[in-house]
């Protein structure tokens, strides 16, 4: 196989002049991280609520939670992205007029954050539910027996342990979220994969651009992994679950 690598391409100027290609990639990293961070907050918040209500003894709350999880998990992420960006504004006139008026990047960002946040919330809800249900039954009963109300049992007994147990799957989900943010390129959001492809199309140095993107994603994934491992170690309860993680 023969290919002439040209790493100098990153320091070439864009056709418009002014910026160089490496700056394009750096802007892409910024959007990837911004979308991931914002949707992570939504996903954790909503996922915790939905996951928790699925373990309560109120049938309607459980049904609502189940419906939420089934809907957001069973529709492909790509389809959800199109729904948020192309379809939903059509039904809400004020939103539509905002989308038309504003910088397209803002509309793409908001759509991508909502889409990824809700999509991931369903997956996190499933993990939160599993974490709570994996606790010994006696914990809930003991909480009730010492006179705590149901919200107090969740707040002081079940959730603190449940969240500690699900830190490893939450780590995977965080990494998935960062990777899934690349799907936002389909609605035109200029994140890392978008920029790598764009650079390839301008220069025909696809492999250099994709190599850079691949390495950057590996670094981001490893960093997320390390951070979560640190959190896991910090919050471990001695003697309860194996502290640390790898």
């Amino acid at each position: 196989m023969h290919y002439n690598w040209n790493w100098g391409v990153f320091f070439q100027e864009l056709p418009g002049g002014g910026e160089e290609y490496w700056q394009l990639i750096v802007w892409g990293i910024g959007w990837t991280l911004a979308v991931s961070a914002c949707s992570w907050v939504i996903a954790i918040a909503l996922g915790s609520v939905i996951g928790t209500i699925r373990t309560t003894n109120s049938p309607w709350l459980v049904r609502f939670g189940n419906g939420w999880v089934e809907f957001f998990r069973n529709v492909p992420l790509l389809v959800q992205m199109f729904l948020w960006y192309f379809v939903i504004p059509e039904f809400i006139p004020p939103l539509k007029s905002w989308v038309v008026r504003t910088d397209p990047a803002h509309a793409q960002f908001v759509s991508a954050v909502l889409c990824l946040g809700l999509f991931t919330s369903a997956r996190i809800a499933e993990q939160v539910r599993a974490g709570i249900q994996s606790l010994a039954r006696g914990q809930r009963a003991a909480g009730m027996a010492i006179g705590l109300t149901q919200p107090q049992v969740y707040r002081f007994v079940l959730l603190p342990m449940g969240f500690r147990i699900i830190i490893p799957p939450l780590t995977s989900e965080t990494m998935n979220l960062i990777k899934n943010s690349s799907v936002a390129l389909t609605i035109g959001l200029a994140e890392l994969t978008f920029r790598a492809r764009e650079m390839g199309e301008y220069t025909f140095n696809f492999f250099e651009a994709f190599t850079a993107a691949t390495l950057i994603y590996i670094v981001i994934a490893m960093t997320a992994n390390r951070v979560m491992a640190y959190v896991e170690k910090r919050v471990a309860v001695p003697g309860y679950i194996a502290g640390g993680g790898k």
Binding site: M175, K179, S182, V183, T193, R197, A213, T214, Y217, A221
Partner: protein, 119 residues
């Protein structure tokens, strides 16, 4: 706004072809994934050091990059790989229309992806 749901029924045959492609792609990738996934798992458990290191590295690499990026890699890299494998003069074009699409066309059956198409 005005919704025209009639477009769904008139577009069904078109959607049906897309659905068939989804099923084909899912089936082929599931079989391939199971096959190569099993090999990778065996390799990771191997006592041969370089083999288990390679498998672990492959798994970590593939798990840390987005699927979209993997697809782009394959789309741009495969033409060169196939060129090297087949000894073709030019990169071999790939794509749904050129490979999977052609395979279901009887007149093309039994022909590999090959250079003859570009003369």
């Amino acid at each position: 706004m005005h919704l025209d749901f009639g477009i769904i029924s008139s577009g069904l045959p078109f959607l049906w072809t897309g659905f068939q492609y989804t099923v084909q792609l899912t089936a082929v990738s599931a079989i391939g994934g199971l096959f190569f996934g099993t090999l990778l798992a065996l390799a990771r458990l191997s006592s041969i050091k370089w083999l288990s290191t390679f498998a672990a590295g492959y798994v970590n690499l593939m798990r840390s990059i987005p699927l979209v990026l993997v697809i782009f890699w394959f789309f741009f890299l495969m033409p060169l790989v196939l060129q090297a494998m087949g000894g073709s003069e030019r990169p071999v074009q790939i794509g749904a229309e050129r490979t999977a699409g052609r395979a279901s066309n009887p007149s093309q059956e039994g022909r590999s992806i090959p250079r003859t198409r570009w003369g």
